[in-house]
């Protein structure tokens, strides 16, 4: 008899666990009983497995959704995906309810978006960092899907200018003329950041030694920290991370050993004040906001849209006081040159 009691109680535990995170305190929706005549535009956002408080990608996408809800008077909702198998059901759920726009956050959802968008041709979709891809992985542009791409290499180039100027002039603790970076895994949205970074380093300070590594993970902080400690052993004193949660460990290594770090996606100055000298901003919030606005104003465009320096889609984060004015001036000039097309940051990694 006692054994029989255990199962329902455990089931209740599981349900409460899933329910607790599924709603995540971030559910937001407008009035449900709107009159059909003045039907509000409804937007659904589906995060990838990183979750809403990953301090970068998904956090920013959600910020864009919240801003749009405030400014544009649209109804929005967000669903967190706990595993990759959740993507299709989460997207389908919004499409079935007739949402006007369903947003997928992240290149991991290219195939799920392709599947669901084909099934619901009258619903509009937007996907951050990718384009719909069929089961074989082949990209196919769909008339109801907007593909939102970022010029990560431009953001990488800007932080690369700061790092190069500091390494060249041996500013503060950056005395070894050695500059490093770490990606999560070698995939295009990660590697393009690093490619731009290295391009700036090689252009501005050719004598600077460059190292690059991977944590093979986007969550595990210890793996990121180990790569950081290894890099510091090899002389690195400026460390740029493109590895989500794992990258926070890379920053922690810099903090412990008294070196400098550079953040990614969001402005990560607060992660370790005095250590994070700047961040390579990728304004996913702007991409999400703009797509919602386009649907609201009936200017939705399917196919590729690029977010870059010219349209403020990428940028440079807050600068720590240790960064000299000359470095800031060089970064400002680089930004202007990228906007005008005088500098075209590379997308292929030079030092692997």
């Amino acid at each position: 008899m006692k054994r029989l009691l255990a199962l329902p109680i455990l089931a209740a535990l599981i349900v409460s666990a899933c329910g607790g995170t599924g709603s995540g305190g971030a559910q937001a929706t407008g009035g449900a009983g709107t009159a059909p005549a003045a039907k509000a535009v409804r937007i659904g956002l589906v995060t990838d497995v990183g979750g809403l408080n990953d301090k970068s990608f998904n956090t920013l996408a959600n910020l864009g959704r919240q801003d749009a809800e405030k400014d544009l008077k649209v109804e929005t909702k967000v669903t967190e995906s706990k595993q990759q198998a959740d993507y299709v059901p989460n997207l389908t759920s919004y499409a079935q309810q007739g949402y006007d726009l369903v947003i997928s956050v992240g290149f991991l959802m290219t195939n799920s978006t392709w599947k669901v968008a084909k099934q619901f041709p009258n619903v509009k979709f937007a996907i951050v960092d990718g384009a719909p891809a069929d089961d074989a992985g082949k990209t196919e542009n769909l008339p109801n899907v907007a593909n939102l791409f970022f010029a990560q290499q431009e953001a990488g180039y800007l932080v690369g200018v700061i790092a190069a100027e500091m390494a060249k002039a041996k500013v503060g603790k950056a005395t070894n003329n050695t500059v490093c970076s770490m990606g999560g895994i070698p995939i295009p949205p990660v590697d393009t950041f690093i490619a731009g970074y290295q391009h700036a380093l090689q252009t501005i300070s050719p004598t600077t030694k460059i190292l690059n590594g991977y944590s093979n993970d986007f969550v595990d902080q210890q793996k990121g920290k180990e790569v950081g400690l290894r890099h510091i052993d090899q002389g690195c004193d400026i460390l740029f991370q493109v590895a989500g949660g794992s990258g926070l460990g890379y920053i922690q290594a810099a903090k412990e050993k008294g070196k400098y770090a550079i953040g990614v996606d969001a402005d990560q100055a607060d992660v370790a004040p005095g250590v994070v000298i700047t961040s390579a901003l990728k304004r996913v919030n702007k991409a999400v906001y703009d797509s919602i606005k386009a649907v609201k104003e009936n200017t939705f465009k399917s196919g590729d849209t690029f977010f870059n320096a010219a349209n403020e889609g990428i940028g440079l984060g807050k600068l720590d006081p240790v960064v000299p004015a000359s470095a800031k001036a060089a970064a400002d000039k680089a930004l202007a040159d990228i906007k005008s097309g005088a500098i075209k940051p590379k997308t292929d990694i030079a030092v692997k």
């Binding site: 006692k2 255990a6 599981i14 590594g213 180990e226 949660g245």
Partner: protein, 299 residues
């Protein structure tokens, strides 16, 4: 490829850092399974410990309270597993998995509620280091002989093993099977909680969702690999740690003119394990009553 990349001092130091949390979970697993209860909720205990440790340390500004709170949190989660597995005699794998999901959901949820998207504060107190390693690394190593002495050199240890091998025989000589099993499961949770404290307070100085990243499960693999002995668990944990250390230190290494791909290096710890288990460990036998709920006669 150079010798320094394979057995340099920095590789060995990294091995210890990476082995410590796995070792703590594995020692917990050894104690629990020797008493006859499989505790796959070690991962959950570790995660809860990591979270509660950082919250307590940050709120009280005391690293001692932080570590103590992590141990208590890990113990409490294991307590739920103990009640399910021992009192209710439920399936130990189901209960353990449910608790792991609960731990992941609960810590992610509370992390978001407490710290929002900004994350844990940057000014968490530091754990002391000895010889350039966190004190908890040394604690984890010291626990190996202590656990060994306890299990194989004391009356309590003998009773614990008896309960895991043949609970009915133990009962007939007056050993309280349930009491011993409760104590063993709670101890395993405490050790996993300490492992969590090491990850959040010493390694990361912050908490991120799911940051234990399977170390509790790898700890359980180390239990089997180490043939349910503390010293075996140490060897296994060091091997995992070494594999992980190599996957970092060998980055950029070349064989001939070919670079070793980083994705391949990421599989190193697991390849090493499969090789070791297949080639060197030989037959390993779990305690006879491992994972089997105990019912007194006449019930």
């Amino acid at each position: 490829m150079t010798v320094d990349m394979v057995i340099g001092a920095s590789v060995l130091a990294a091995t210890l850092r990476l082995a410590a949390p796995i070792l703590l979970a594995a020692l917990g697993g050894v104690i629990s399974e020797r008493a006859g209860v499989v505790n796959i909720a070690l991962e959950g205990s570790m995660l809860v410990g990591a979270f509660v440790g950082i919250v307590a340390a940050e709120q009280t500004d005391s690293i001692v309270i932080g570590v103590a709170a992590a141990i208590i949190a890990g113990t409490l989660l294991a307590g739920i597993h103990a009640i399910a597995a021992i009192h209710w005699r439920s399936d130990q794998i189901v209960s353990g998995m449910a608790l792991n999901i609960l731990a992941l959901g609960l810590t992610s949820y509370l992390n978001f509620q407490l710290y929002g998207t900004t994350g844990t504060p940057a000014d968490v107190p530091d754990l002391p280091t000895v010889a350039d390693q966190s004190i908890l690394v040394w604690v984890s190593l010291a626990l190996v002989p202590l656990t060994h002495l306890f299990l194989f050199g004391t009356v309590s240890g003998l009773r614990l093993r008896a309960v895991g091998e043949h609970p009915r025989a133990a009962e007939t000589v007056g050993i309280g099977v349930r009491r011993v099993r409760y104590a063993a499961v709670l101890a395993s949770g405490a050790l996993a909680g300490l492992g969590g404290a090491y990850l959040s307070l010493s390694v990361a100085h912050s908490f991120t969702d799911g940051m234990t990243a399977g170390r509790g499960f790898i700890g359980l693999a180390a239990v089997i690999f180490g043939k349910w002995s503390p010293i075996g668990a140490l060897v296994a944990a060091l091997l995992f740690g070494y594999g992980n250390a190599l996957s970092t230190s060998l980055q950029g290494a070349t064989i001939g003119d070919t670079r070793v791909p980083v994705q391949l290096l990421g599989t190193l710890p697991y390849l090493l394990t499969i090789l070791a288990v297949a080639g060197f460990v030989g037959r390993s036998r779990p305690p006879a009553a491992d994972g089997v709920p105990y019912e007194k006669e006449g019930h």
